[in-house]
Subunit: 79 residues, 2 copies
């Protein structure tokens, strides 16, 4: 069973990496860009055919390693 | 108009960063993990109310800066 996980910085947390990308895009002429924020993306494959159990395992991975819950949010989707 | 962009390594490209995450997760007891691959995630806001035009601009950003098309694929979604 396959899941995608996106980890994003919380709304009020500064995103210096995204800011650099934003400045660079504006410097190469992308004027209509309003804002850009960068996050992380994971594709996770789990050996478990029961969706609820598999999702719980992914959730556990996010809490334990993939996301820093103090400054980041995460979203899990089945793919 | 807001879009999400995910940039992932192509299937046959080695993903050392993902491999480290995979090993770490297995070391902390996540035995049912089969594989994990890491990518990048962007949330992009565009000053344009016409969806086709806005999407084209995001596509252009991916080609010019966000993705390395030799080793990476990207996907754009409206959010």
């Amino acid at each position: 069973m396959k899941f995608s996980v996106t980890v994003t910085l919380k709304k009020d947390v500064l995103d210096p990496q995204g800011k650099v990308v934003q400045n660079t895009l504006q410097n190469i002429g992308m004027d209509s860009l309003k804002s850009i924020r960068q996050g992380k993306y994971f594709e996770i494959e789990i050996n478990d055919n029961e969706e609820t159990a598999a999702k719980k395992k992914v959730d556990n991975m996010c809490k334990k390693l993939l996301a820093n819950l103090i400054i980041e949010d995460y979203k899990i989707n089945k793919i």
